[in-house]
Symmetry: D2
Subunit: 463 residues, 4 copies
């Protein structure tokens, strides 16, 4: 049976990661015959879209394949007939991220854009937008797959599936990819020589490993983590976990666990950056400007090396592989965010988990994980509860519920200080939080304002 | 890394299915470098073992491979250093099966050797023996895999894992293989073009199918079941299911569901055979004698066509493929009996289910199935409860518990008649039920005896 | 705080049980200050309503209390401002019950009006009507409690709570009351001297008993069941359970378990009645006519002894006690049908179970039961699944689903015969099954008709 | 039936709370005919035991009842024939508590003796001792009830039931009693006029309240909490919860939730006390010395008013009421620690929860609670996981596991600082932690020592 040629729509197409995505498609073209690609962005991102879009077209032009890259600021123009919609947009751009980071640090708390106070606010801003995208998809491309890699990827995916009722959605994360690359190197073998099994939540998963004969390697990898580079993503400060803890787990935590297990160290380091070279978002802003400068070069027609240094590397490749595996029913083993359905026994049946799956023509089929030991179970249950509060609050604008999430989120100090931070963030992100409009007005009336100088500056200068 | 050459031990090696097993190994030899095969049987099976063993050796001799087939009546001689132990033995031989069938029919109830009254008795006889085998394995080959295809395969596997505490055990069944062969033919495609997903219990599972693009084919297959040959195993009388029921399920039941969904028809047909040409066991006894005659031919060195006609065809091939997939970490999709661990949400976490798995170097990793709709859930929960009563009773000799199982088993009429049947079966199988010795003595003292004439005859003539 | 006087509305007020209800209210009047009682019935029941209503008023007039009994054929006249609505109506009157019994018996299957084929059809007829009542209540008495004792009480209650979304509903059953009266007598003590705990489903529950010091008495009661009258309700043929089974359970089954555990005997006995003195419904019809004759006596102003002989005795008293306990927050221990919420671990969280509760001002608070042993778990899970199919089918008119229920219901023989029975019942009850109108038409077009002579006769003569 | 007279054994009988216990027994004597009371303590508590024991005997002598109070330092002398054993002992006496508080504060973390770092260490010291007591009970009073009010009461009770396999154990807490007294006062009614329902863990539960008509009062109580005295136990600093959070919950948190929800404020206050008037334990030490002085007065024969001011007030009364309710099968509503069995759906089936129960002759029967909303669910699951790590570690001496508990416990800052605190506490409590002997030795070898000056001083002076 001849398969139809593929139409890809990328929301947030002006992202500096787009060249990685193009590279991924180009190298899979023989299996994945793409006909057209639409890069969608918003008015504020017009300039980036044009630069990145031209670069993307140059990459295809340099390839043996005849693929047209369309650019648009109107996603409804792009969506009709799409087979795969990928989402990599950032509501409020990097400036919003910088607020997500700087405001918590200015309160002496972690500013982390995926699962701390900042991550919760990223969810509050993103979820209403993605639910609107889903409504457009229902109308314009009702059979498309939504491949999400907008962070916080797990929460966004859960919103799409549970609130948007869009089942054909898979959430991606690049963190497991790092382990899948690094660990075989430790043993001088290839990925296929090991049996990996991951389970948990996005940016909060653990995994275990055996060799092809079923012999456990987890414990050896743990030992190696203390003598070798652990493969922590570039965007995470590399503090070693407490060894006795990891030996007790007999599971390998993910890089983001540092924000929970080693919070003291991560906070200290974060505050240093906050008071010094700038938060991660500020650093990324610089990198990104540099990347865009590079992309402007009309002779550049391949992904530049600099992009690989960013924390999000592998995301786009994971997306391409996922699309490929769905399109060709390849049954590849991937770690994605999908419906739990009992795969992790002690998490709610219908919530989204990040887990080892077989990616088939009908989507992700999770391998059954079962139960965690007590400590991991407690952590993951607590995180999932926090996520549920954030997601529902993002949809409903319920202030009490996001306050609950703040108190439950272990990156936020508990007490009145949590509420002060929450209120300041609400006011700072007013523009992107229509669901909280009334509450924000009340807060402003009582004088709540964003107090961090750099953030203030950003707001004044309208970045 | 060079892998060690493989030692296979087959308990019940005198089975007429052994040539299929040999054929399976021969055709996989390049991947699965077997060094030695041990066929083990008991004194009563000595003659069969010798015939079958010679035949097996001839098959290897006719192949390009140098493999020695060893025969022994002492499993402790065979087990040391085994990599894979396969179990296909029948406690009490076919005569016990014939009693399992004829005695229920003589009470006007279904005599079915895998999940009716007869199946429960097969479990009572088999479980103590396999637990003894496991004890020997702990001592003599503590790293071996136990690949069970002795029926009732699910209950026996559960006994091995839960009571024997032997985790490296996989239970096989040939029924899903039939569907995996038949259904692609319906659409003129290959197995790999469809995505199958099975869940349930051994001889009591359902499945659904999509094409490689994720489009559901289940409903079409159901329709085809009413116009085409449905692929029911040769040993099951082919009554059509009630179409409105199956359309409501939107799942494809397995052949053995007939004994529950279409009990009236199956009973009528079974009684006809009982009163006419003989029960399935009696028919098999004839077939088996014929097969053994064939096997005696010193020129026969390949699996004869006649073997394929038996109900158990594909079992041995499934076993070879399973062993191959473990040995080579092939990650083949197979439907096997393994630990649930939440894969089927509403069955006990630690019970054995039959489910679509990826077979890896560390064993079977089940794909998460989730929940059934109400009716299938009720059926499968009730069957699992029955299995638990049988297994525990097989281990403990608890009479009240096997009575509970009889009343709960829907193939047995409920009331005092269930207990009468139970008592007669206990007495009839006395020789193989040491755990019930005291109860059987009591029953005999009150005059309970096996009343079916043919069965009587069998006992007298010592078959 | 002075509480408001109480308004009671009884749907099906023309029932011959109404005098028991009146007696129950009269004896509790000091605690339960009823101001008005409305008896509601339908046109076909007008004559009964008038007889029973007059009798009810005489009972109050003979009491020291000034309570007015209103009669109406329009429930919307009665409902406004009601505090408690009790439901004891029978859709299709006793003639429908007689069909529920005779048609299955004519197919050689059990005709049992609460959980066999007949009981499933009673649910199909009743659920649409009670959901309409609930809609009226939402409008006219949104704070009222609905106390249901229309059978099948568990399924009807589940429909009200899950489909009608009416949380203030409690389902009653008289069966546990029988045990609570009988068992203390066995030990020469009072009910309060024993600690009972019940769990299961309506007409499918088990219980255990300790003395006030926590010593188990269950085993002693089981022994006594084999030497004494077991307290089986008058409407259930008293066959002894298999003793070894009950000893294994260490729980006391309810009377209705006979239809499952001792089906052979119950069927034999039922067929004798069917072919002889008439089914239970036919017998009740005679009794009821006699009762109504008695009630016509203008001098009769108390509940006649004859009423106590019926199977449903204690129902009305249970209803009065339940109302009393809610009104006065008495926290009485009662066994009622209410939301599970995890009280019985292995049944669905949101389904209705019959369980020991504390009846408080906010309704029934179930005592946690936990897990059953395997066999009881299997039975109760299978029954609940069947109930779910019936309830959903009653709401939606889904034919495939009620066929699933028939096959799953262990009182129905499985196979094509189940479907034949189903079809005949659908046609026979056509008048009361609007949700199945289209299917019934199709069936009639193919010649399906009710074949039992007596039933035919009933239909012709318009009973 | 005449009941046997009661023998009470109180382990930790030298506690200054013992007079409250005596008062509780005296006022219930007519229902609870106690014959003898044994107060057991250890050598280090001999003096206190003698003072308190004499005081206890004077209280009985001043009553109309003839009860003998026996004193012993050998619990095996006391236990034979006991009906109820109450446990209120403190391993390491108040000095250990002071270390539990001061050492964490010296690291800038909360020192809280029931569920922070200190509480975890109290569990590590207590659990081995209570398991020894249970072993003695198995031998000497196998039918006795163990009524535990040694903190952390929930963890200690879980150890007794799960590891000690002693089912007849109930854990008590005085915190709910405070709410049961305070809240009716808010409405000018009595406790019996309200319907309370509690669920959670010891010192980590929530509750909701209705009036006797089932109308919710929870929301009103929350409002009142912000205008009135909230009834926080005397030993907890009274910081108001964040109102928007509690309004969102629609549940009333317990006083100890402050250590989690308002950690910042509690830490600030705790550090003030640490640096000023001394921690709670130090304050209690003064109070206790004063109480003992009072008790020495040979004329004092009633519970002095001062005792009521302590945080633990009502504990002893709760114990008396619990014993009374068991002995007389009173079916009193009490909030106790008992086996979950599904009462709180999302906590492990076999763990200990603190929940509204009916106390009967066979022990505590929990009322089914069901599910929490997301946030409370996450909190309670995380706390239970932490408890499980602590309990198992207390039994096994597993260092990795107690480190896991420290990281999971939200009162402990995460990172290397958690491990430093852990190590210092291990060394400080060396004498009472035989299960960690080897690890402590290693730590001492690397120079770990207790650094807090006051604690040092305590150790030097051998308190």
């Amino acid at each position: 049976m001849k398969k139809k040629a593929i139409k890809i729509v990328t929301i947030g197409g002006g992202s500096s990661y787009t060249p990685e995505l193009m590279e991924g498609f180009i190298k899979r073209y023989e299996e994945l015959p793409i006909q057209e690609i639409w890069l969608v962005d918003i008015e504020e991102g017009r300039e980036k879209l044009e630069i990145v879009g031209a670069m993307a077209q140059r990459m295809w032009d340099a390839s043996p394949y005849d693929v047209k890259v369309h650019l648009t600021l109107d996603r409804r123009e792009a969506l009709p007939g799409a087979d795969f919609v990928t989402t990599q947009f950032r509501v409020g751009l990097l400036d919003a991220r910088i607020k997500d980071e700087r405001i918590p640090f200015s309160h002496g708390m972690l500013g982390q854009e995926t699962n701390g106070a900042g991550g919760m606010f990223k969810a509050l801003r993103t979820i209403p937008v993605i639910l609107n995208i889903v409504e457009d998809m229902k109308e314009l491309c009702p059979n498309a797959w939504l491949i999400n890699f907008t962070n916080p990827s797990g929460m966004v995916t859960q919103a799409v599936i549970k609130y948007g009722k869009w089942k054909k959605c898979i959430g991606l994360c690049n963190v497991p990819v790092g382990a899948l690359i690094k660990e075989p190197e430790m043993f001088g073998v290839t990925e296929r020589d090991l049996v990996h099994q991951f389970a948990g939540l996005n940016h909060f998963h653990w995994h275990k490993v055996t060799d092809a004969q079923g012999n456990d390697l987890t414990d050896q990898i743990i030992d190696k983590m203390y003598v070798e580079d652990s493969g922590t993503p570039a965007n995470i400060h590399d503090v070693k976990f407490l060894k006795e803890q990891v030996k007790e787990m007999q599971l390998i935590p993910c890089g983001y666990h540092r924000y929970y297990y080693m919070q003291d160290e991560m906070l200290t380091h974060g505050l240093e950056e906050f008071n010094g070279i700038g938060t991660r978002g500020e650093q990324v802003k610089v990198t990104e400007a540099e990347l865009l400068e590079l992309y402007k070069d009309p002779n550049l027609n391949y992904k530049p090396e600099q992009l690989t240094k960013r924390g999000g590397t592998h995301y786009s490749d994971a997306a391409c592989e996922c699309i490929n595996s769905i399109y060709n029913d390849k049954r590849t083993h991937m770690v994605v965010s999908t419906e739990n359905n009992g795969a992790i026994t002690e998490l709610p049946y219908d919530s989204i988990v990040e887990i080892s799956c077989i990616i088939t023509g009908k989507g992700a089929m999770p391998l059954t994980w079962g139960k965690f030991k007590s400590a991991e179970r407690g952590w993951v249950q607590s995180m999932k509860a926090m996520e549920e509060c954030v997601i529902e609050s993002a949809v409903t604008g319920n202030y009490g519920l996001i306050l609950q999430a703040f108190l439950l989120n272990l990156q936020v100090k508990s007490g009145a200080c949590a509420q002060e931070l929450l209120d300041e963030l609400l006011v700072a992100h007013k523009k992107y939080l229509p669901q909280f409009a009334k509450k924000i007005e009340e807060l402003e009336a009582t004088g709540v304002a964003s107090k961090d100088a750099v953030v203030m500056d950003l707001m004044v200068n309208g970045h």
